[in-house]
Amino acid sequence: MVGALTTAAAGMEAQQNWMDSLSNDIANVSTTGYKSQRVGFRSLLYQAPGRGAGEGAVTGAGSAAEIIGENFEQGSLEQTGRSLDVALTTPGFIRVRTPAGATALTRAGNLQVSADGQLRTAGGDALDPPVQIPRGIDEEKLSIAPDGTVSAGKRKVGQISLVEVTNPNGLQPDGEGTWVPTAASGPIREARGARLQQGSLESSNVDLANVMTNLSEAQQGYELAGKAVTTQDEVLAVANGLIR
């Protein structure tokens, strides 16, 4: 009979997980290329409650909530006019290589030329394959074509690799604005239809009004489950009160 208490507590934890994810979205409302998280709720196992109930009765064990991926809806474009800012205007990713040598994907296109002349993301990841900007070229004069071709004047100096995976929800976010491919996401392949826009950045796709509505729903859910915990405690007190 302590079941009711853990059931109610599971509900509180599920709402708490949702609030954590919403807080993360709020914190990233102005992070370039950020994708809001998708949280899935599920009910837990249903069983016959035993004493006090007949064979036709079942009770559930509460709920659980987990992040089930990200919402890859296009974020709005912000004009910056900076030549090394690129925004993806289609689904897809820019392929990068982390300093540790791992392949990663990003949609944060605020690129810069590092001290060694390579094009890198703001997080310090090099493009993959690397794009080396020859010495003496003014970075303001670089042009980046929609297909990712980087040229200085008429000379092609490199190519930004635009890729996609079958299941973006299977990508593993690493917290630095990049995603790492997994078995669930499927292999990385060239994204022929992907397009870049120079001089723009993709804003975070967090819809603040939406997040706030969800946050108030999560809070309400948390309170309801909290009330249930308090009442179940009182129920047990009444049962214990039988013997004085």
Partner: protein, 228 residues
């Protein structure tokens, strides 16, 4: 022994089952497509009492109560827009069908995702069945035509947990699938909270009955027949 003691105890047990059920509903206030269940309380059976001297009927005596059934309320709930292309809601009656390791299961929670092969799956990786009973493939742009997701009529629906239900498939459902929407939880918070309070008061009343009967019994055992 006094049967009143057992009657009141069975009432307490039934209220505690009801409290378990209420906790579960409050815990699922935000679970998409959640269906809440009612509860049917039934007496164990009744005795007809007669006056032993005159033989006149006194009335019936119940032998206690239990929660005999927890019928599901399958009324469709309102859909709310999420904008996520792989969220689906059924407008009207019917269930999505999911191919799990234990066999086909049914759900009203359309929060789906994809697998590495581009099939529509649940977050736990089970394939969602299309209208023709096969897997649902994503289109090149990562979306799914709402009409290609199957909706089925299901009879004998029983909760299993994980938002899944067991039952017998009985043809196509009449509901219409909408992409970018989720069905809200069927928990009516105000009603459930009221039920929680009233059930708690019944529990207290049962406890008071047990205590009173206990005092009566100790009175009979301790005072009746005492010499001084």
């Amino acid at each position: 022994m006094d049967s009143g003691l057992y009657i009141a105890a069975s009432g307490m047990l039934a209220e505690m089952v009801r409290q378990e059920q209420i906790s579960n509903q409050l815990a699922n206030a935000n679970t998409p497509g959640f269906k809440s269940e009612g509860n049917v309380q039934e007496g164990f059976g009744e005795l007809l009492l007669h006056n032993t001297v005159t033989g006149a009927r006194v009335g019936s005596l119940s032998l206690g109560a239990e929660i005999s059934e927890t019928p599901l309320d399958l009324t469709p709930n309102p859909l709310h827009e999420t904008g996520e292309p792989l969220d689906f809601g059924i407008e009207g009656e019917g269930f999505f069908a999911v191919n799990t390791a234990q066999g086909v299961r049914y759900t009203r929670d359309g929060q789906f995702t994809t697998d590495a092969e581009g099939n529509l799956v649940t977050p736990s990786g089970d394939q969602v069945l299309g209208a023709n009973g096969g897997p649902v493939k994503l289109r090149a742009d990562g979306t799914v035509a709402a009409g290609s997701v199957g909706v089925f009529n299901v009879t004998g629906v029983k909760q299993e947990g994980e938002n899944l239900y067991t039952g017998n498939q009985a043809g196509a459902g009449s509901g219409r699938v909408r992409a970018g929407f989720l069905e809200e939880s069927g928990v009516d918070a105000a009603r459930v909270m009221t039920e929680m309070i009233s059930s708690f008061r019944s529990l207290e009343a049962d406890q008071k009955s047990i205590q009173t009967i206990g005092e009566t019994l100790s009175e009979s055992a301790g005072s009746v027949g005492a010499l001084s």
